[in-house]
């Protein structure tokens, strides 16, 4: 059975939910402290939370820890690396994904459900979605305002939209360029998402739309 590492930094707090969602999607998952080694794993998930209390910039200090060299190696080998919320911030800070996550346009913590339009179903994380499909997931962040110099070069995976899939200014919760909510690297094996798929991975949570992201990832890692 394929096995994913869920990396825990000081201040990470979505590790248990993420571990559970991966198991529900049909793989093994193990929470590992950021000083562990990752050799025995088939994929890596950087979960949400507040690594190093978000001091300096969200994700900046975690991104400079030694374990991230191993994560980079994983990514170079084409294996799956998923960053959720703080994990996305860590991935941009390491340079594994382009751009930066700035404080929200209105500088406060946002915690609510959003609609997302699925833009790219060719990544290992989105094969079980339909192109253009509208899904629901929660966001919970203070620094989710995605910025990049040249958005035309970015592989956009989810965009904030209204419930009909219109990508409007009003549907943009944090000021991200082009309503960007999730992106992948060029190869597609590294994904960063501000919305939390693990918080939409069971009907009792209000949506199972996020579970398909983990299922896609697990299916792909099995091949």
């Amino acid at each position: 059975m394929v096995k994913f590492a869920v990396i825990v930094f000081p201040g990470t707090n979505c590790d248990f939910e993420t571990e559970r969602a991966i198991r529900r999607a049909g793989a093994e998952a193990e929470r590992v402290w950021y000083r562990a080694n990752l050799r025995d794993f088939d994929g890596i998930v950087l979960p949400g939370g507040f690594s190093y209390a978000d001091y300096l910039r969200a994700g900046a200090i975690a991104a400079r820890q030694e374990i991230m060299e191993e994560v980079k190696e994983f990514a170079r080998e084409g294996r799956p690396v998923l960053g959720i919320c703080n994990g996305f911030q860590i991935l941009t800070e390491t340079g594994l994904l382009p751009g930066a996550l700035r404080p929200n346009r209105i500088p406060r913590f946002l915690c609510r459900w959003v609609h997302l339009r699925v833009e790219d179903t060719e990544t290992p994380f989105t094969t079980l979605y339909e192109p253009g499909e509208v899904i629901r997931m929660p966001i919970a962040h203070a620094e989710g305002n995605y910025y990049v110099d040249d958005p035309s070069k970015v592989r956009i995976v989810f965009q904030y939209s209204d419930e009909k899939g219109n990508v409007t200014e009003k549907a943009n919760p944090n000021g991200s360029v082009l309503n960007i909510a999730a992106i992948a690297n060029e190869m597609g094996n590294v994904l960063g998402t501000m919305p939390h798929p693990e918080r939409a991975s069971d009907r009792f949570l209000g949506s199972e739309d996020g579970l398909r992201l983990f299922r896609s990832m697990v299916e792909w890692a099995r091949r």
């Binding site: 400079r64 700035r102 404080p103």
Partner: protein, 80 residues
């Protein structure tokens, strides 16, 4: 040799500074004619080094600033 270093990290010109906007608005509400308030980050530390310029430059690039969205400046003085 020991140095006293100060570093200022600023959001690049043209990038929105939400914290600055809120603080600027609050000051305007108090009756002050404040405009374009920005909130840079200020660091100060002591550094034992033979090549302080090079090391401080490196620190800024590696961690203290994100070159995509920030500019930075620093001053380095000997500790007396």
């Amino acid at each position: 040799m020991k140095w006293k270093v100060t570093v200022i990290v600023r959001l690049k010109e043209g990038l929105n500074d939400p914290e600055g906007r809120v603080i600027g608005n609050a000051l305007r509400n108090l009756g002050y004619a404040v405009e374009n308030l920005r909130v840079p980050k200020y660091f100060e530390f002591e550094l034992e080094s033979e090549k302080p310029e090079r090391e401080v430059e490196e620190m800024c690039r590696k961690l203290l600033a994100n070159p995509l969205i920030h500019n930075y400046e620093y001053s380095i003085e000997p500790v007396s």
